[in-house]
Amino acid sequence: MNRGLSLNNLVVTGPAGLIVTRMDLHVEPGQTVALVGESGSGKSMTAKAMTGLLPRGVTATGSLQLDDITVDLALGPQALAGLRGQYISLLLQNPFTSLSPVHRCGEQITAALPPDLRRSKEEIRRRLDEVDLPERVARQYPFELSGGMRQRVALAASLASNPQILIGDEPTTALDVTTQREMLDLLERIQRERDMALLLITHDLGVARERADKILVMYAGRLVESGEGADVFAHAQHPYTAGLRDSDPPLEHRLVELPAIAGSVPRPWEVAVGCVFAPRCDRADDRCRNEAPELVGTTSQVACWKPIALTDASHPIQIATDVQAQNTDNDLVVIRGLSKRFSSSAPLALDNVDISIHSGEAVGIVGESGSGKTTLARCLIGLESFDSGDISWSINTPMAQRAQIVFQDPTSALNPAMTIGATLAEALRAGQRSKAEVVALLQLVGLPSEYINRRPNGLSGGEQQRVAIARAIAPRPKLLICDEPVSSLDVSVQAQILNLMNSLLKDLGIALLFITHDLAVVRQVVSRVYVMSNGRVVESGNMENVLQSPQHEYTRQLFSSVAGK
C-alpha cells in the first residue's frame, strides 16, 4: 500500500552546527508539496538527507517512512541506499552537470534498470516518449542537447526505477522561462499518470504558488510556516512569509518601493536563542528574541509568537505610474545595425541590432539565454568586438566615465584579495576622482563605512552586489549597465538591490541599461524595454505598452510563461 512519504523530526548537523532543526514533512501519493526558502534555509540539505547524499561531515537524525518501511536516518547514508531509485529519487537543478558528458543519453536513462532491459530499444523509446523526447536522443550526448532537453533526459533517468516520490531540487531554476513552463507541465503530467508524490524544492514563490498542493516555508534551517497551496502566501501568518511574498516583484504593476526585508538570512547555527526571524522582524518583542516558537496549528501551521491575523491590515502597496519614456533627442548612445558572429559555423549572436539610450533613462533588455543580450552589453562597453554596425556616443569622455558594468555574480566580480576600500579607490582613480569619496560611495549604496577594511568574502551576496554597484558608479559614468544584477540573490535581498538601483537613478541622474530574463524585475526599474530573441530585437517600446499589448509572438510567449503572476 502506497501511503506516501513521511519525514519525522529531521535534524541535520554540519561541522559548524545545526543546519536543519526538527523538520517534519508529509507527501501523499499524487500530491505536490513545495519546500520554499532562500539560500541557507536548509531546503536542499533536507532533500540530501532524505536521499542519503549528505556531504562529508554532515549527519542527520530522524526517521523517514515510505510505505511500511521506516528508516532511521541516524544509521547513515547506507540505510537509504536500498530505497534510492525505486522508492525515492532526486532530480537536480543543473542539467548541464547532472549527466555524464561522455555517455550517451539512452545509456544514462536506462542505467538504473535491470541489466536485461538496459539495451532494450523498446524500453528506451518508451522512456523517452514519456518525457516528450524523440528517439534519436538515445544516441546523442548531453552536450548535443539544449538545457531543456537535457533536463528531460535527467527526468527520464530519475524516473527509470519508477520511484514513489520524486524530489525536484530547483528542477527548473537553470532553465529559461519558456522552457521552465514546459518542464513544470511535463512534471505535473507525469506525476498524475504515475500517481507519484512530488516534493518540489524551490526559491521561486511563483512556481510554488502555481504548482503546489501544499507549501512549506523554511527559514534558517527551520520550518516557519506551512499550509494549503497558494493560501500560505495569500494569508501569510508568519511575518517572514509575508515579507517574502511582498518583496517578490509583481508583474502587473510597478511599485514606488518594493517592500524589502532588512538584513540578510542568518546561518542556522548562528541563531542561539529566540525566533530565527526576530532580528529582521518589525513585530518582534522580547519573547521573540528569547524563546523559540513551536510550529502550531492543524491544516496550516506557523511558528510565530505574534502571527499575522487575517484581520490585520496589510501593508498598503503604493503603485507607481510608469515613467513614460521621454521623447527627447538627447541620445546618450545610439547603436545601429550591430552584428556579431562568434564563429563561422555559429548563428549570428547579434543580428542587426538597433538600440538607443537617452541621458538619464532606464532601459531594459529582456531575453532568454542565447538571445544576445549579454553580448550586446559587452560590445557596448568594449569587452567584445563586433563585425558590423556602429555605436555612437554623444559624449567624448574616456570609456570609464561613459559606461560601467555590474555583473550577475558579485562573488566572482570582486577581487577577493582586495579590501572594499581598495576596490573602490581603484575605481575612483579610473574616473580621476578623489580617494576621499570612498566613504560617501559606501553610504550611497547603504553600507556602513567600517566596510572599508573588509574583504568581499566576509560579506553576504547582497552586500557584495552593493559593493559591485558602488564600484561601477565610482567613476561617475553616464551609463550604468547591469547584467542580471539580482539573479543570484535571494528574493528578500533582490528587493533591497532593486530599491537601491531606483534611488541611485534618481539621485545621480545616470542612464541605466538593465539586462535580465526576469520580466517582473525589469518592470520595477525601467521605463522602456527591448525584447531580444536569437540575436535580434523583436519588440521594443514603453514598458507598460509592451506588457499591456505585446505585439510579437515571442513576447507573448515570454509573458505567458511567467509562473504564478
Partner: protein, 332 residues
C-alpha cells in the same frame, strides 16, 4: 526500423570518415613539425663555431686532403639549402652519416641502443601505469582513508627522491644484498635483457608513478564531486556502475598526462643508463655531446623529437576516441 538502422550505418560511416580525416590532418601537422625540427637540427652543424668540416672530423689531426674529401662527401661547398635537402634525403633513408667518435655509421651505432631505451621506457611506463593508476583510483575512492594518506605521503617521497639515489639504493638492496637482479650492463638479449632492465625501470618509474598517482587521484576526486555522481547515486545505480561512469570521465585527463609521461621517459633515461651502465641512447647522447659527435647528436635529437611527436599524436587520437565533445569539434 530499417530506415533507422540505415541511418545509423550512415552516421557510423560518416564518423569513421571524420576519424580518418582527423588522423590525416594530425599526421600532416606532425610531419610539418618534424620537418621544421629537422631544419633546426641540421642548422646545428653550421651554428657550431668553426669550420663545419673540421667539426665533422673532431679533434683528430687532419690533412687538407682529408678535409677536402669530407667537404665533398657532405657537400659542404654547396649552398646551405642544397646541403640541407641532401642531408634530409639521406636521413629519410635512415642515413645520418658517420659517427666522429666511432668509425661506424650513426645508424648502426644507434640501432641497438634505441631498442634498449625503448625497452627501458616501455617497461618503466608499464610499471608506472599498472601501479599508479589503480592506486590513484583507490585512494580517490576512499579519500582520507589510511590507504589514501599513506600513498599520498609515499608519493611525496617518490617525487622528491633523486633518480640516481633511488637507483643506487635499489642496486644495493636487490643487486648486492639479496642478489636477485644483475647490477651491471644490458644483458644478452631476450629474457636476460628484460631481467637486466627491471631495476632501472623501477628506478625510473618510482618518481613518475608518484606523479601519475597524484594526477589520477586528483582527476578521480574531481569527478567524484560532480553532480552526475550524486544524481547517479540518487537514482539507485550500483557502486560498480557509478565507478564506470567516473572512470570513463576521469580517463580523459589521465590519458593526456600518460602521454606526457611516456615522452618524458624516452628522453629522460640518461641518469638511469649511467647509474646502471646501460648502453642506451641517453648515455650515448651524453658521450656524444662531450665529444662533439655532431651526426650522433643530430640523430638522437631528431629521433627523440619523433617519438615525442608520435606520442602526442597517439594521445590526440585517444582523446578523439574517448571524448565525444572532441569528436564533435573534429567533425566541424
Amino acid at each position: 526500423m530499417d530506415t533507422a538502422h540505415s541511418h545509423r550505418r550512415l552516421t557510423q560511416l560518416l564518423s569513421r570518415g571524420a576519424l580518418t580525416r582527423f588522423i590525416i590532418v594530425r599526421l600532416a601537422a606532425t610531419g610539418l613539425l618534424l620537418l621544421v625540427l629537422s631544419f633546426v637540427v641540421f642548422a646545428l652543424l653550421h651554428l657550431t663555431p668553426g669550420d663545419p668540416a673540421r667539426n665533422l672530423v673532431g679533434v683528430r689531426n687532419v690533412t687538407p686532403e682529408l678535409l677536402q674529401s669530407i667537404r665533398d662527401k657532405y657537400h659542404l661547398n654547396d649552398p646551405f639549402m642544397n646541403q640541407y635537402l641532401h642531408w634530409l634525403g639521406n636521413v629519410l633513408h635512415g642515413d645520418f652519416g658517420e659517427s666522429i667518435r666511432n668509425n661506424t655509421t650513426v645508424t648502426t651505432l644507434l640501432a641497438d641502443r634505441v631498442m634498449l631505451t625503448l625497452q627501458l621506457s616501455s617497461l618503466s611506463f608499464a610499471l608506472t601505469v599498472i601501479v599508479a593508476v589503480p592506486l590513484g583510483i583507490a585512494a580517490a575512492w576512499r579519500t582520507g582513508s589510511a590507504l589514501d594518506r599513506s600513498m599520498s605521503a609515499a608519493s611525496i617521497v617518490g617525487v622528491g627522491a633523486p633518480t640516481y639515489a633511488v637507483g643506487l639504493l635499489l642496486l644495493y638492496v636487490f643487486g648486492l644484498w639479496f642478489n636477485i637482479f644483475p647490477v651491471y650492463g644490458s644483458g644478452d638479449g631476450g629474457f636476460d635483457r628484460w631481467w637486466h632492465l627491471v631495476l632501472p625501470a623501477i628506478t625510473l618509474a618510482s618518481g613518475l608513478a608518484a606523479m601519475v598517482f597524484k594526477l589520477t587521484r586528483t582527476a578521480v576526486v574531481a569527478e567524484l564531486n560532480q553532480d552526475y555522481v550524486a544524481f547517479a547515486q540518487s537514482r539507485g545505480l550500483t557502486r560498480r556502475q557509478i565507478r564506470s561512469l567516473v572512470l570513463r570521465n576521469a580517463m580523459i585527463p589521465v590519458a593526456t598526462s600518460l602521454g606526457l609521461v611516456f615522452a618524458f621517459l624516452f628522453g629522460g633515461t640518461i641518469l638511469v643508463e649511467v647509474t646502471f651502465a646501460l648502453q642506451g641512447i641517453g648515455s650515448l647522447l651524453a658521450g656524444s655531446v662531450t665529444f662533439k659527435d655532431l651526426p650522433v647528436v643530430q640523430a638522437i635529437t631528431l629521433l627523440t623529437a619523433t617519438v615525442i611527436a608520435l606520442t602526442a599524436l597517439a594521445v590526440d587520437i585517444l582523446y578523439y576516441a574517448v571524448d565525444p565533445r572532441v569528436r564533435k569539434r573534429g567533425m566541424q
